[in-house]
């Protein structure tokens, strides 16, 4: 077989234009950065046929469909009774193309102010029902680029399969540069002995969140642990503190000491008022202590604030991804600060 250069995958970029110009540029750059040939309306040339015919032809030439949903429904296409963007989306579904949807933050409130709120709401709901949309929704172009890279990398690594020799295209399983950054981060963290201890208060679950199943917050703690481990930070998890504190007090004290000796950062997840004093056990044990607490619900005073850092949450954040995102975002910032001082 000949060793001809392999074709690039083609991505169709679909969105309204006027309200998402900067986002379109960043999405175009982000997809090109991942090796895609990007098809977008900005590159269409003058032609004898109509714009929709051009869109359909362009869509049919592409391998994936990337949708940016902003706060406008967009200009209408008479033939379909849908906006150009919505019609492109429906056509991409009909073509069974992989769809990647990215939604701009604030859409819920923007729908009320949109020119065509019912259609925008309907389109948004269709997207949410049909695809996994990354939450939190993107707030700026940097978050959009990160979301696109994350989705594309995940798709390529999950969907990658070894095939026999008739392959049309070949792509790396993952971006070597991202792999290199992860490798350097992990190696540096290991060399410097950076470690995180995650502490789950472990009591008052039912009192704190009566509508929650008792395992929900514990599960959230495991999710956070896994995300921190993926970041390359050695992470251990202490839970069921009540048992240690009441029944085996000496063991609890020993664990606090060990946590202080062996970690750089201790993150305490606090759920109810009764859990809060346990944070104090970790203060002054030698590591930085961050308390993750529902501050407003616990009605704490300034005198109660003994930890080094406080991350506030409301109960609804436990239902969504917000709690995990805030904790991992904070730890990521601490890790980055540590890494920036290492070389």
């Amino acid at each position: 077989m000949s060793a001809e250069p392999l074709a690039k995958l083609r991505a169709f970029l679909s969105s309204t234009k006027l309200d998402l110009e900067a986002e379109r540029t960043v999405a175009w750059l982000a997809l090109k950065n991942r090796g895609f040939e990007v098809v977008r309306m900005e590159d269409f040339q003058s032609a004898t046929h109509d714009a929709w015919t051009e869109c359909v032809a362009a869509l049919q030439s592409c391998d994936i469909y990337v949708l940016l949903l902003g706060h406008q429904y967009g200009s209408m296409l008479a033939e379909t009774g849908l906006s150009y963007t919505h019609a492109e989306y429906e056509r991409a579904r009909a073509l069974r193309m992989p769809v990647f949807a990215f939604v701009k933050d604030g859409i819920d409130s923007a729908i009320k102010r949109a020119q065509d709120p019912l259609r925008l709401q309907d389109f948004y709901e269709t997207i949410l029902e049909s695809h996994v949309v990354r939450h939190p929704l993107f707030r700026d172009t940097e978050e959009l680029a990160t979301s696109i890279w994350g989705a594309i990398d995940q798709w390529q690594s999950r969907a990658a399969v070894q095939r026999p020799s008739f392959l049309r295209r070949a792509l790396p399983a993952a971006d070597p540069l991202s792999s290199a950054v992860s490798h350097v981060r992990r190696t540096a963290l290991r060399r410097s002995g950076f470690a995180v201890v995650l502490v789950d208060g472990g009591t008052a679950l039912a009192k704190a969140l009566p509508t929650e199943s008792p395992g929900r917050l514990l599960q959230k703690g495991y999710e956070i642990r896994d995300e921190l481990a993926a970041l390359g930070a050695a992470t251990s998890f202490i839970n069921d503190i009540r048992a240690y504190a009441q029944d085996r007090n000496d063991l609890f004290v020993k664990r606090v000491e060990l946590a202080g000796e062996r970690s750089s950062l201790i993150v305490c997840l606090v759920h109810g008022r009764a859990d809060y004093p346990k944070v104090s056990a970790f203060v002054n044990c030698g590591a930085q202590v961050a308390a993750v607490i529902p501050y407003a619900r616990l009605d704490l005073t300034a005198d109660d604030r003994t930890a080094d850092v406080y991350l506030d949450y409301v109960d609804a954040d436990v239902e969504s991804c917000a709690l995990s995102a805030e904790v991992t975002g904070y730890v990521r910032a601490v890790v980055d600060e540590h890494l920036l001082s290492l070389f």
Partner: protein
């Protein structure tokens, strides 16, 4: 944190900085970030001692070169161990017709 610079961005900056002086346009093209965030990233990397600024472009300091070397070693490893694979799509690969 005093800067918005992430370690991932800094590592990439140093990696590309090892290949020649960094300009705003070059950084924008390799990192795929909006232009307005680049100057503050470069300023932060300079403030941290990884880059030095000179007449509109930036070069690596010794500290930046250390990180760049680690990145180059890791890149070599990543490229060597990355298997060549095919993303699966649920429609017929158009290259199949060339087999007939």
């Amino acid at each position: 944190l005093t800067t918005d610079l992430t370690f991932s961005q800094l590592a990439r900056l140093c990696y590309y900085g090892a290949g020649g002086p960094l300009t705003i346009a070059r950084v924008q093209s390799v990192l795929a970030l909006p232009g307005h965030v680049i100057p503050s990233m470069l300023a932060a990397a300079t403030e941290l001692g990884y880059l030095t600024s000179e007449g509109g472009h930036w070069a690596l300091t010794d500290r930046g070169a250390r990180l760049a070397r680690e990145m180059q070693e890791a890149m070599g490893r990543a490229q060597k161990t990355t298997p060549v694979v095919q993303p699966y799509t649920d429609f017929l690969p158009t290259g199949l017709e060339t087999l007939s």
